[in-house]
Every structure is written in structure tokens, then in C-alpha cells.
Amino acid sequence: MYLARLKLVLLVLVGTLIGIACYAFVYAKGYSYLVNDPSACANCHAMNEQYSGWIKSSHHSAATCNDCHTPHNFLGKYAVKASNGFFHSFYFTTGKYPDTIQITKFDREVVEGACRHCHAAITQAIDGNNVHGTAEGIHCTRCHLSVGHSESSAVLQLPQHLRRIHERQ
């Protein structure tokens, strides 16, 4: 009798925990991270600039966040999503991240792989080139920095500036 009552209390407690956890999951829009919608990456405000930069970028019509920032295979994609998801949540919760967020070395490699996946024909041709192909530390984004999302105000002003030089000539 006593044991049965204790079991009931336990079940209620565990049930409550599951309930709170489910609510937290829904409230934090946890489900949105399982699909491909880029707005999920701006759920928390840390990536607002990147998201709005992407909307204005040349890749907007061709690629979403996941297309560039996760590997192009099922297992790799969800492994990177899980790892980034955990660490982003961790640093966002503790608030310990730089104001101007920086990509990690690992994630830069992921992006590089994604560039090379879609632009295979041209990147393979570059690899054969003995200047750029053999240079160390060359990444597509080292030069093509703003194709995905250019969030800085100065870069956004560049076309205006170039127009000015153009008018002078």
C-alpha cells in the first residue's frame, strides 16, 4: 500500500518533469531546429545580423543556412547540428560569447566543404592551378566573404562607394 502510494508520487513527479521539459522545448521553438527553415537560426537574437544579411545576399535564392553550414550527408548534417546546437545554446544561455560572433575553425571547414560541393567544377579547376591550388590556408570565403551574408554596415555601403569611384572615371 505504502509502496504503491510512493510509486504514484514518483510517477506524478516524473510526469511533471516531462511536462515542463516538453513545454520548455515548445516555448524555445525546439522543433524548428529539426527542419531547414533559416529563420530558426535567428530564433535567438545572436544571429539577427547574419540572418538579415543572408536575406539580402546573392546566395539567398540558392542556399539556406544548412546548405553552407552543415555537411552534405545525413549523418554529418545532424551531427554538426547537434554539436552546434548544444554549444550555441550553452554560450547563449551563459552569455559568454563575443559581440561580433566568429566562426570556429571546424565550422569554417564545413563551409569550405559546402562551397566545394556545389561549385565543384570551378574549385577543382582552381585546385589544379599551381598558385592558388597549392597555397596553404586558402579558403573560398577568404575572398568571397560577403556572398553568404554581409552584415557589417561598411561592407553594405561598398556598392555606393564603388559607384562614386565609377562616376569619377
Binding site: L6, D99, E151, S153
Partner: protein, 484 residues
């Protein structure tokens, strides 16, 4: 019985452990839930109008009730953190009756005695120190030993919150109030001043938009625009928001002089913003701020032309404003606000430089300091050349012909102004590295030509780039607008 007890104990222990684990997990999940809730709240824009603001409220603490985060950051300018060549800094001193400050910045004159020779006979040879944060501007001016020279009231234009003072003295007309201050001596004007630069000096109290409140800048930029064919330029009407993020700083971080006959505070921009343009303006007005006692040359003094020099650099050309680097966006909870703790970008590289430059903080700092190191080396060469010229004129005052002496003095006037201009500019060459080195190169040339002229040496084999022939017209850089 004992068996029964044993089987009953095991599930009981299991139950207790499970309950404890569940409680810990529930605790953690609830904490996370509350954290998510808080982060969501932060992302909203909480603005509460606690007090009514208008142009009579000069106390930044009152504005701070509506804008507590900006106010907190603004109060941060009391910091004393150095960079390699600047930042804000502090040295302890024993307070006296006349000067109650217990902390001051280092004396530049003690660090480099050449400056005393350079400014001999002028107030700056008595007291000239490293800069400190905005919070100290009024106190540091009130108690500088340069006060012994009875400076004009116009000095206050950039060392105090002036909007209410100008309004009060001019009966609502800031320009009239400015003229009134121009006619006063510092000691008289000082009694009106209550705060160092405050919210009201850059912001419209109704809508918080940036605005230019200093008549000297309004007039200065009007004459500059007029020289470029734009008539009747009204900065508060025509400037873009991005331009304003530099113009509000340019109200004070510029060179100036007191224009005779009534000593009006004036920005010498009628010919452009390059150092040659400015010298040409001062020469045309036959401005003489003091006579150098060692050489008898008629001297002019340059003052902190950050705005002019920034304008010659690649950052200005790319449309980057003062505020982009010195007041970058900073995260406060879920909001991003501009950092009102104005200081060196080298103290906030992530927020200021890395917004555009995708290199590590160490790399970016090393790049900036390399520019500054190079500048510092050439600055020292230029100061040595100036010391040689001053010493040479002093030693040969009685031997040289009046024509030779006049020529050498002219070279000192111009060469020294160039060195002064780029040296009193507070970035150690960073704001426009190439222009800074060009100015120093030209200044060294002026000093050595002065020595040649003094000794009746051979005329230079080429015509040196004259004061009238600036490399460009010194127009304002940055993305151009089409509407005006």
C-alpha cells in the same frame, strides 16, 4: 520477514534516488526555461519614458533615467586604461588648494622635452598632457597650468556641455550665445559650465536624433562646402545619418584658431581639409598666435585634427564613421546599443574591427600597432629636423641676412605646423597612415630647406610641393549623396 524487508528496502532506495534525480532535472529544466524567458524578454525593446526631456535639461543623469544603459556606458569614460600609444590614463598626484585633482594624465612635455622647445613662448610649453576620457574634460581644462595665460572663454566650447549655456546667453539663439562666450575670458565663462559633454550636446531631446549644436562646426562645414560649390549648406538639414555619426565628433575633434579681431573660434576650412589647405587659410589671414622667442618666427598652433585626418584615410573613404569604431554596437541583454563609453578601438577590437576585418584580435592589434610604430619613428625624425632648424636660426640670427632669416622663419612656421598637426592628432598616425607619413616627410623637407635658406645655400633643385598645392582639394570623403 527479513527477506520481505530486504526486497522492500531496495525499491524504496531506488524510489528515493529516482525522486532526487527527477527533482534535480526538474530544477535544471525550470532554470533553463526561465533563462529562455528572460532572453526573450531582453530581445524586446524596453523604453520607458520616465522623465520629459527638452532643451533646458542639461544634466545627463536626468536623461539617464530614460536611457539607463547608454548612461551607464557614458559614465564609463571615467576609465583609465592605456593602449600602447594612448587610451586614457592616470598618474597619482598630491592635491593642492589650487588644483584638487588627485589623478592626472602623464605630461607629454616631460616625456619629450623637444616639445618645450617647439612651443617655447606659448602656453603649451608649460603644461601639455596625455588625454583622458570625456568625463574629465572640464576638470582637466579648469586646472591645467595653461590657465596662467588667461585663455579665452571660447575654449569652453569643447570642454563643457554648452547647449543650455548658449541658449541662456543668447536668449534661445545658440549662435548669439556662442558669440557672447567668445567675448568672455575663460574664468568668466567657466562659472556657467556645470557638466562635461553630455547627451544634449549630440542628441535632440525630442527624438534622440543626432544633431550638431556647435556654431563653429555649422559655420566651418558651411565654408568647406561652399569651397566645393555647395552654397548655404545646413548640416542639421542635409547631412545623412551616417555622416552625422562623424560630424557630431567633428564639432570638437578638429583644429581651430581664434579669428581676429573679436577672437571668434573658427575652423580654418575655407580651402579644404588637408594640412596645406589649412596653412594656406591661416597664411591668408596673416594669423600669428605667438612669436617663437628663439627664432622670432610668427607661429601658428595646430590642435587635435582627428576629424580632418580621419577624412584623409581609407576608413572615411569606405564610409566608416567615427562612431563605427569608437562607439561600436555592444550587447546589453538582448539589445544592441551603441557603446557610449567612447575610447580607443584597440580596447574593443572584437566589436569595432572584427565587424569588417576577419582576422584574429591579435593580428588586428599587431597591424594597428605596426602603423603606429612606423609613424612614431618618422615623427621623431621630424622633431629632430625641427630642433635642428630652431637651433640653427637661433645660432645664426645675427649672421644671416634679413632675407635669409625671413625665409628660414617661414619654413619653421610651416614645417612646425605640419608636425604639430599630425602629432597632436590623437591616433599616432592610424586615422590616415599614408597621409600622416606624407605630412611628416613634407615637414622634414620644410625644416631642412629652412636650414639651407638660412645659410644662403643652393636653392632647391626642384620646386617643393608648396603650401598652395595640396595633393587634393581636401574634400570630405565618404559615400556621396545624390540629393544635395
Amino acid at each position: 520477514m527479513s527477506d520481505n524487508n530486504g526486497t522492500e528496502k531496495k525499491p524504496r532506495r531506488f524510489l528515493i534516488v529516482t525522486i532526487v534525480l527527477a527533482a534535480v532535472a526538474a530544477f535544471a529544466v525550470t532554470a533553463l526555461l526561465i533563462n529562455i524567458f528572460e532572453r526573450k524578454q531582453e530581445a524586446r525593446n524596453p523604453f520607458y519614458r520616465v522623465v520629459e526631456l527638452n532643451d533646458t535639461v542639461d544634466d545627463p543623469a536626468v536623461w539617464g533615467k530614460n536611457f539607463p544603459m547608454q548612461y551607464d556606458l557614458y559614465m564609463g569614460t571615467t576609465d583609465m586604461q592605456r593602449t600602447k600609444y594612448g587610451g586614457s590614463e592616470a598618474e597619482p598626484r598630491t592635491p593642492t588648494q589650487a588644483d584638487p585633482r588627485s589623478v592626472v594624465a602623464r605630461s607629454k612635455l616631460e616625456q619629450d622635452p623637444r616639445l618645450k622647445t617647439m612651443w617655447a613662448g606659448y602656453a603649451f610649453s608649460k603644461d601639455y598632457r596625455e588625454r583622458r576620457g570625456h568625463a574629465y574634460m572640464l576638470a582637466d581644462q579648469t586646472f591645467t597650468e595653461r590657465q596662467q595665460f588667461n585663455p579665452p572663454g571660447a575654449c569652453l566650447n569643447c570642454h563643457a556641455s554648452m547647449v543650455t549655456i548658449y541658449n541662456q546667453l543668447g536668449n534661445g539663439d545658440r549662435n548669439k550665445g556662442f558669440q557672447a562666450i567668445n567675448h568672455m575670458k575663460y574664468a568668466e565663462a567657466r562659472q556657467y559650465a556645470k557638466h562635461p559633454i553630455a547627451c544634449i550636446d549630440c542628441h535632440d531631446p525630442q527624438n534622440m536624433q543626432l544633431r550638431v549644436t556647435r556654431p563653429a562646426f555649422i559655420e566651418g562645414i558651411k565654408t568647406l562646402k561652399a569651397s566645393q560649390g555647395v552654397a548655404d549648406y545646413d548640416v542639421n538639414r542635409y547631412a545623412t545619418r551616417q555622416e552625422m555619426r562623424s560630424y557630431v565628433c567633428g564639432q570638437c575633434h578638429v583644429t581651430y584658431y581664434f579669428k581676429p579681431p573679436d577672437k571668434t573660434l573658427t575652423f580654418p576650412w575655407t580651402k579644404g581639409l588637408t594640412v596645406e589647405n589649412i596653412i594656406a587659410h591661416l597664411d591668408e589671414g596673416k594669423i600669428k598666435e605667438w612669436e617663437h622667442p628663439d627664432t622670432g618666427a610668427a607661429m601658428i598652433k595646430a590642435r587635435h585634427p582627428e576629424f580632418e585626418v580621419w577624412n584623409m584615410g581609407v576608413h572615411a573613404r569606405s564610409g566608416v564613421a567615427c562612431a563605427d569604431c569608437h562607439m561600436p554596437y555592444t550587447r546589453m541583454g538582448g539589445l544592441k546599443i551603441s557603446d557610449h563609453h567612447v575610447n580607443s578601438p584597440l580596447l574593443k577590437i572584437n566589436r569595432s574591427c572584427q565587424t569588417c576585418h576577419h582576422f584574429s584580435e591579435e593580428e588586428l592589434k599587431a597591424r594597428a600597432e605596426e602603423i603606429q610604430d612606423r609613424f612614431f619613428t618618422l615623427r621623431n625624425t621630424a622633431l629632430d629636423a625641427l630642433m635642428d632648424l630652431i637651433g640653427d636660426i637661433k645660432a645664426n640670427k645675427n649672421k644671416a641676412t634679413p632675407e635669409q632669416l625671413a625665409k628660414a622663419r617661414d619654413y619653421q612656421r610651416h614645417g612646425q605646423y605640419m608636425i604639430d598637426f599630425i602629432m597632436s592628432e590623437n591616433s599616432m598616425g592610424f586615422h590616415a597612415p599614408q597621409e600622416a607619413e606624407r605630412i611628416l616627410g613634407s615637414a622634414i623637407n620644410q625644416c631642412r630647406l629652412g636650414q639651407l635658406a638660412l645659410h644662403g645655400g643652393p636653392e632647391p633643385s626642384h620646386t617643393p610641393a608648396g603650401i598652395a598645392e595640396a595633393p587634393d582639394k581636401g574634400a570630405l570623403a565618404g559615400p556621396e549623396k545624390t540629393n544635395h
